[in-house]
């Protein structure tokens, strides 16, 4: 019989253990009969160090009983996951009965063999111009939203979830939503949005609120992705996974690391944060010979809007681009406040153009980018040197930038623009500029679309 000998932070150390497995699930029974779950972080001789997901508050060394389950933390999966709401640890919290699992899967998953992957190059239409036109999302991509406190990332994510579709339709679509440490209002917002549109039928929700145990958050994205993998690769569905807020997840990880007295990396986050995040983000993708896919949109709030903070920084090093929300646009009351300049979809070039979206799309995207960048430069110049310093062509760029923000970036939360709409709108705006300024566009497209 094992003996609890130390409790510190979220950790419990037990001794006189025999046969504990590294990384296995442990159940800790309290005197009042409550059961908490934990994970073995380290084993040494007869000792096991356990991370308690629900926290160690209220545990005492004398009366608790630990039981080693002999397996990892698992999620029971079946078709019936759809439409259900679970806790951050994967326990039902919607007052409906437990699902009868078709199988139980370790939430850590295993790495996809890179040889078995299929390159993501199918265009997903989100109906949002700044994404579809400039920073295209593809099926199987991992594309985070870098946000900040008070910015409308939740509305944007819900809009993407509501509107996302692939040209020509195709397999069943599902949404997996993993919430880590978000507020009750934010969670309610998502649930309401999913209900309103009927999307809840095809959604699975894993919810850990700000008031729920922090350490549980370490399991939440993994449980969500385990459900997603089952639906994508067993049921051949196209799954969109939204994880919010990854910053809270990372903080829980830091808490455990600090309790273990590990050598801290930058800003106190553990040195293995990159690897840990990669084991989450790399679960997105497509697999050869399977119809389904996992498209992952993690949301994170950048502390101080600082892109070089370890969480956005390491995320950017793993994901295939980033959508960046901008406070200045938000202040101008522009929704969605996506700044196209620092945003990037690395998989765009292989997913757009002839046969995928429209022949002029790659050229138009580059031109919009260049022209808007130039317009912003002019705007800054004007601030320093005054409007009088602007040439005629400068003024046109300025007008372009203003209109671009007002018509292209700005769109209604309920507005679902087709890619054709987005491209046609682009041409409308490009007409503000003289034809010979459009250096990134092939003459044949100028003839066809500028003149039209």
């Amino acid at each position: 019989m094992s003996k609890a000998i130390e409790i510190y932070g979220p950790l419990l150390l037990v001794s006189e253990v025999s046969g504990a497995l590294y990384d296995e699930l442990v159940e800790v029974e309290l005197k009042n009969g409550d059961i908490r779950s934990g994970k073995v972080l380290e084993i040494k001789d007869d000792k096991a160090l356990i991370q308690i997901f629900e926290g160690t508050e209220g545990l005492d060394l004398k009366t608790i009983k630990t039981r080693f389950t002999g397996k990892g933390l698992e999620l029971g999966v079946s078709k019936d996951l759809l439409g259900r709401i679970f806790s951050g640890l994967g326990k039902p919290i919607d007052n409906a009965p437990d699902i009868i699992p078709e199988k139980k899967v370790d939430i850590n998953g295993s790495s996809i063999n890179p040889f078995s992957r299929n390159y993501p190059n199918d265009f997903i239409q989100t109906g949002i111009s700044t994404i579809d036109g400039l920073n295209t999302l593809t099926r199987g991509q991992k594309l985070p939203i870098f946000s900040g406190s008070g910015l409308p990332h939740s509305r944007l994510a819900a809009q993407i979830a509501r509107q996302a579709k692939v040209k020509g339709g195709g397999s069943d679509f599902a949404v997996v939503f993993g919430a880590m440490g978000i507020t009750f209002e934010d969670a309610e917002f998502f649930i309401r949005k999913f209900r309103e549109t009927g999307a809840i039928e095809n959604a699975v929700l894993f919810i850990n609120l700000a008031s729920d145990p922090a350490i549980e958050r370490i399991a939440t994205p993994r449980a969500a992705l385990t459900a997603a993998e089952y639906m994508a690769f067993d049921l051949n569905m196209h799954v969109l996974v939204i994880l919010t807020d990854m910053t809270n997840y990372c903080e829980s990880l830091r808490e455990v690391s600090a309790a273990r007295k590990e050598v801290p990396g930058r800003r106190g986050y553990p040195g293995y944060l990159y690897t840990d995040l990669a084991t989450i983000y790399e679960r997105a993708g497509r697999i050869k010979g399977k119809d389904g896919s996992i498209t992952l949109i993690p949301i994170l709030s950048m502390p101080d809007d600082d892109k070089t903070h370890p969480i956005p920084d390491l995320t950017g090093y793993i994901t295939e681009g980033q959508i960046i929300l901008d406070r200045a646009l938000e202040r101008k009351n522009i929704y969605p406040p996506i700044d196209p300049l620092p945003s990037l979809s690395r998989l765009r070039d292989k997913a757009i153009g002839k046969g995928k979206t429209r022949e002029d799309h790659p050229n138009v995207a580059n031109q919009l980018f260049a022209s808007y960048a130039r317009g912003r430069e002019v705007r800054e110049l004007m601030v320093i040197l005054g409007e009088a310093a602007l040439s005629d062509i400068d003024k046109k760029y300025l007008k372009f930038a203003d209109e671009f923000e007002d018509k292209f970036i700005r769109q209604d939360e309920m507005e679902d623009r087709s890619i054709e709409d987005t491209l046609n709108l682009s041409w409308e705006l490009l007409k503000i500029l003289p034809k010979d300024e459009l250096k990134r566009i092939k003459p044949e497209f100028i003839d066809k679309y500028y003149e039209a």
């Binding site: 992957r117 199987g140 990159y274 084991t279 070089t308």
Partner: protein, 580 residues
């Protein structure tokens, strides 16, 4: 028997083990390596996920060091960090990688046609080439006498063999086409020589401005999204090396898939053969076990050196070495070693130096006499894009070329985002003879002039920002104009345009010469009272802009025509200025 498990570190008591021994851990027989010994306790770095191990589980010592298998079958293959072929892993365990799967690195059943080049009775020793196998339509695999063997050939065969069948007998020893080599041990050249030939990459800013030499080493640091991987892929595609070893170290799975799907379609510009046929891929993606990340760069280096020993020029790309350094840091932390700067172990700098020292050019061991080279290009992913961190700094101390990627340039979508003010190549001197003899007598001179103008441009821009364009003299305005052309029409290069993605040295020379002639002639005519705004109107300039998108074979003629045209137009301008 296991005593402790903490992530990828397992401590076990293994009687009589040596540092570096390959061990099999637990009932699943996970692959591990002894990295430290204290008393009878060995610290083992485990190359697979360790979940499910427990105290008391067995550890079996193979007594052999972690090794790579060398022989026909390496090319066009993608391996994991410890050289397990990923296609075989898929066959064995499906699309998700299972643990404890044992598959041989090289195919044991495939027959290769072996053609001997030595005869019975010949005396041979280490490194001597005794026969050849046409491994792919692009590469002839030379079968060399392994280390530790020498003597008289008693028998040598010809025909079709697997890599384990005997192809020759030398002093009583049977020789096969399969050799093993300890991963961490470097294979030596007979004699290292100084580098003198460029490794051309088809990338203008690299070949012309900051060239790399065959046998040299380069460091490509940059923040996320700045273009490290695109550059490494461009090099893997277009560098004029015979063999490419690409190590995807702790990066994205899709990037490896991209290479696998794209390379068979791409043709080598020199031979017209599929590029995959000269390529070996090592993939330890960011979600694969961290310890294998550390091994992956060595696996790549050992394979690269083996091909170098055949007399080939080999280029090894490691993307990203930061992930390898992080793996070192993680193991060091678990071993409770004293952390150095930013938690990295004190031996980080010596490990990096040892690795880059494996690059080089020189005479290979054995006969016939031949020269081989190994060029190493490592990308570095510094946190927050800050180049002052330990991995960048320690790498710069041992590499001779620095292509610093710049967030500001990438943000403006100026690609490759190599900062021309910051970057350098210490091979410029060594290579200038080659460039003069093979490309153009004035090639080094125009390069220098272009860089000088670009440096001047940066100064002038600072002035413009403060007081506006008007304050600049005509000559200064000309510099700004010419530099814009250098940046947009020479330095900028799209990796995705079918023509622009590769520029031969001749093409690079042609474009840059024209731009420099434009500058020189313009300077001359400014003295005649011509103004920069008149020069800007010369329509020939737009023809220079189009050159990068012009096919190689049309370049010489078009360049000559532009040269003439430009001359005429300039003379016209002088004429007009004189009349006014």
């Amino acid at each position: 028997m296991i005593k402790k498990v903490a992530g990828p570190l397992v401590i076990a008591n293994i009687p009589d083990c040596k540092k570096g021994d390959l061990v099999k851990v637990g009932k699943l027989r996970l692959v591990g390596e002894v990295i430290e010994i204290r008393g009878d306790l060995a610290s083992i770095q485990v190359y697979e996920e360790t979940s499910g191990l427990k105290v008391g589980d067995p550890v079996q010592n193979t007594g052999m060091p972690l090794s790579v298998e060398l022989g026909p079958g390496l090319l066009s293959t993608m391996f994991d960090g410890i050289q397990r072929p990923l296609v075989e892993l898929e066959k064995a365990s499906g699309v998700f990688i299972a643990r404890g799967v044992e598959v041989p690195s090289l195919n044991r059943t495939k027959k290769w046609t072996f053609k001997p080049v030595k005869n019975k009775g010949d005396e041979v020793s280490v490194g001597d080439i005794i026969g050849e196998v046409e491994e792919t339509s692009l590469i002839v695999h030379k079968i060399m006498i392994p280390h530790g063997i020498s003597g008289k050939i008693e028998e040598i065969k010809s025909g079709s063999f697997t890599i384990e069948e005997t192809i020759a007998k030398i002093s009583g020893q049977e020789i096969t086409m399969l050799q093993k080599w300890p991963v961490r041990k470097s294979r030596s050249l007979k004699q290292k020589e100084s580098v003198s030939i460029p490794l051309t990459t088809g990338q203008r800013i690299i070949d012309t401005m900051f060239p790399l030499a065959k046998g040299g080493s380069a460091c490509v640091p940059g923040p996320f999204g700045a273009g490290k991987t695109v550059i490494q892929h461009q090099l893997a595609k277009w560098a004029d090396a015979d063999i490419i070893v690409f190590v995807g170290c702790g990066e994205r799975g899709n990037e490896m898939t991209d290479v696998l799907q794209e390379f068979p379609e791409l043709k080598d510009p020199r031979t017209g053969k599929p590029l995959l046929e000269r390529t070996i891929l090592i993939a330890n993606t960011s979600n694969m076990p961290i310890a294998a990340r550390e091994a992956s760069v060595y696996t790549g280096a050992a394979i690269a050196e083996y091909f170098r020993d055949m007399g080939y020029s080999v280029a090894l790309m490691a993307d990203s070495t930061s992930r390898w350094a992080e793996a070192l840091r993680e193991m060091s932390g678990r071993l409770e070693e004293m952390p150095g700067e930013e938690g990295y172990p004190a031996y980080l700098s010596s490990r990096l130096a040892d690795f880059y020292e494996r690059s080089g050019y020189g005479k290979c061991l054995g006969t016939p006499e031949r020269e081989g080279s190994l060029t190493i290009i490592g990308s570095v992913s510094p946190p927050g894009g800050d180049f002052s961190e330990p991995v960048v700094q320690n790498t710069l101390r041992v590499t001779k070329v620095f292509w610093g990627l710049d967030y500001a340039l990438a943000h403006k979508r100026h690609f490759p985002a190599i900062n021309w003010l910051q970057s350098y190549s210490l091979y410029v001197e060594n290579l200038s003879k080659y460039f003069k003899e093979n490309i153009g007598e004035d090639f080094p001179a125009i390069r220098e002039e272009a860089l000088r103008l670009l440096a001047k441009e940066a100064e002038l821009e600072e002035i413009v920002r403060l007081v506006g364009m008007e304050s600049l003299s005509q000559k200064e305005q000309l510099i700004l104009f010419v530099c814009k052309i250098i940046r947009e029409d020479f330095l900028y290069q799209s990796a995705f345009d079918p023509i622009d993605q590769f520029s031969s040295l001749k093409k690079q020379y042609n474009i840059l010469s024209l731009i420099m002639i434009l500058h020189k002639k313009s300077l001359e005519i400014l003295d005649f009272g011509v103004e920069v705004k008149d020069i800007q109107k010369i329509d020939t300039i737009s023809r220079i802009s189009k050159l990068k998108l012009t096919k190689e074979e049309e370049i010489p003629q078009e360049a000559e025509s532009i040269r003439q045209d430009m001359k005429n137009k300039m003379e016209n301008l002088i004429g007009r200025a004189n009349n006014e």
